[in-house]
Subunit: 405 residues, 2 copies
């Protein structure tokens, strides 16, 4: 097997919503296709990946550094003993001559390539990715249909909504409840207790018995922190997400020492180095807190397995791991690695919302997809961003010009 | 004043050398020019910046995200009360809708723009940058000629050198000594005590009384750590640089607790968030250790002043701050902010080596440059990378097409 080309495209998301930290009007994400010389069932085998949302597309780094580096690697160095593409070996090649530290955009560019190579590998094995990942992690994959837990993510701020903001929030939560979610996460501002209580009460009423989690995206005002956390504890929210800025482990540890509420964090830590510091200094509690490291924003599956191993050695369970992302690759990882829950944007009309087309959620669980790979081809609104990446003629004679393009 | 265009170019460095962490064969850096509508003494006023070396150019992020964002900002929002460009306001505009955490490439892209805007501002004030920075930091700048401490950085591994490696090392250290440096830093491997002792002894002999510091670039093998540090202590090296991986604060704190030698680190931490964690958890000692945060890889001067303030509040002196970088902007910052020492690549033939052309170093000190701005125009081998960025016609009618280009 040989990689003929790696094509990427920056996708503008332009979503009219915001959380306590950023607006999404100008947000972008990267779509990636790894095109091979393999043909299966008459079709070119292509590995796809689509970015996590919130930290912008990785186009510049992919084009300037990582795609050229992977294409320059000896093809044999990227294969395992069976002759299949080996994403871990590819990540090692991508990280050659990269200094330690500084885990920002780089882990996302590398993780996106890792994700596409896992899609590719699972397709070459004609197996769903979750089964391949279970094997990679040394887990026994169920022989039969397999289900995994999901939660619904919604309730962003919609700047145009004005006085109808709370009605809109209620409709989003109701829709998530109707779709089958039994845990639903909403966004709060973190700067005004009354506003946040009003949003949470509206969500709890609309959730009709489903749990409601709240996310302040690192922007909980220190001046109201204590009263805010007590108020949220009285409402018995499922968890409080990012109560502290992502690298402020001292503040996080103080919050954890002072509230019975589960805390969730980690979506803005992108490496084993940073996850280890969260473990060492964050004061989180293995019996209740949730770790939300985003696999594909953090160098991919190999790095994530190292993170799991460090936490497990410190007494944590995989059930505490709930990766940020919301996309199909993360769902495969949750199913295959036996993680706690998958985050799913509950608006299935979004390209990055929901699961595979027609996938049903019942009492907070979804069935793992049995199609080969990640199953991007089974989500039409997302696949429309990926399919156009693969249009050019891909005979091997054209490799050089593609690589230079 | 209005910014007409911001042009960047990725410069291949292709230096045939390596340290314990990376090779420089494929290393790149970014050159940046901020072109304004101002004309002084018949010349277009342009702010320049040139990257620090070691973490690759920032071209993709500059083109995809940060240059468009700055050009889209209202020109008035980038000026201070005197109508001069305000780099702090520009950094705030650049960081809009950027999430917390993940300080990797982004701080370098933002810091590069910050650096060019400081060059621009100092030129508009017709003052050398160090005087402008002293004012920004609330320091009294000397009225007369001002000198600052420097150390020479050399002694990389040269893969082609073979058995002549130690002779070459000796020649580099001798040349640095002859150039006037009284402290000279060399690279060690960190994996073999005998090899590292041999290199250090050769450097000490060649240094003829100058101090020798040693840098393992985060790659000191834990299995030999204790014996290696004892051996270096017996040789009385000036400091040991990056004995631990940059984010492994626990290991660093154990090393600091076990050696009398000064330690230096921080060049791979790129934010106040990460510097604060170094301060909280790294176990470093204000009476001897050195902090090497790279100003322009870490969001620029404003962020750096916050870092200084946090350390000073914890009992640190500015003399402990020795920024990584080796370039002219860093020299201006060392002189203007009253920092401990400037790192200077002792091979002045390198575009990023030495100081301004003809600048003399005597007993480890250099005179601050009195030309307006950073003084890039006074270092020919570097300015050849910057000057070609500004060639196109810059009447304001062409702004739209330049911005789109």
């Amino acid at each position: 097997m040989k990689i003929l080309a790696i094509d990427e495209q920056t996708v503008p998301l332009a979503a009219p919503m915001r959380n306590a930290s950023v607006a999404y009007d100008t947000m972008t994400a990267s779509a990636l296709a790894v095109v091979t010389d393999c043909v299966m069932n008459g079709e070119r085998v292509v590995g796809y990946a689509f970015d996590s949302i919130g930290r912008y597309g990785k186009g510049g780094l992919l084009r300037d550094r990582f795609i050229p580096r992977l294409l320059a690697a000896s093809p044999g160095a990227l294969l395992d003993a069976r002759g299949l593409i080996d994403p871990d070996a590819a990540v090692a090649a991508l990280m050659e001559n990269e200094k330690d530290g500084g885990h920002g955009e780089r882990p996302g560019a590398v993780g996106l390539i890792d994700a596409a190579l896992w899609d590719l590998r699972a397709k070459l094995e004609a197996r769903p990715l979750w089964r391949v990942l279970a094997e990679r992690a040394g887990r026994r994959a169920p022989g039969q249909a397999h289900a995994f837990d999901v939660y619904g993510s919604c309730g962003h701020f919609r700047p145009g909504r004005g006085t109808a903001e709370l009605d809109g929030l209620a409709r989003e939560v109701q829709a998530a409840r109707s779709a089958g979610f039994s845990t639903i996460k909403i966004k709060l501002g973190g700067s005004n207790i009354d506003d946040d209580l009003a949003r949470t009460r509206v969500a709890l009423a609309a959730a009709e018995g489903a749990r409601v989690a709240v996310d302040v995206n690192g922007k909980l005002d220190a001046a109201i922190e204590s009263a805010w956390l007590q108020a949220m504890a009285r409402l018995d929210v499922a968890w409080v997400e990012e109560p502290a800025s992502p690298l402020d482990f001292l503040r996080l540890s103080k919050i954890a020492a002072g509230t019975p509420l589960p805390l969730a964090t980690g979506e803005n830590l992108f490496s084993l180095d940073d996850a280890r510091n969260l473990l060492r200094y964050g004061g989180l509690r293995p019996d209740r807190d949730l770790i939300q490291i985003d696999i594909s924003l953090s160098y991919g599956v190999g790095e994530y397995l190292h993170i799991l191993a460090e936490f497990e050695a410190a007494g944590w369970k995989r059930a505490a791991f709930v990766p940020h992302a919301g996309h199909l690759f993360a769902a495969q990882a949750v199913a295959g690695l036996g993680l706690g829950m998958h985050e799913s944007a509950s608006d299935v009309s979004l390209p990055f919302g929901g699961l595979w087309d027609g996938a049903a959620i019942a009492t907070g669980r979804a069935a793992a997809c049995e199609a080969p790979g990640v199953g991007f081809e089974l989500k039409n609104s997302l696949f429309q961003w990926l399919k156009p990446l693969v249009t050019r003629d891909r005979d091997s004679a054209s490799v050089a010009s593609i690589n230079a393009g």
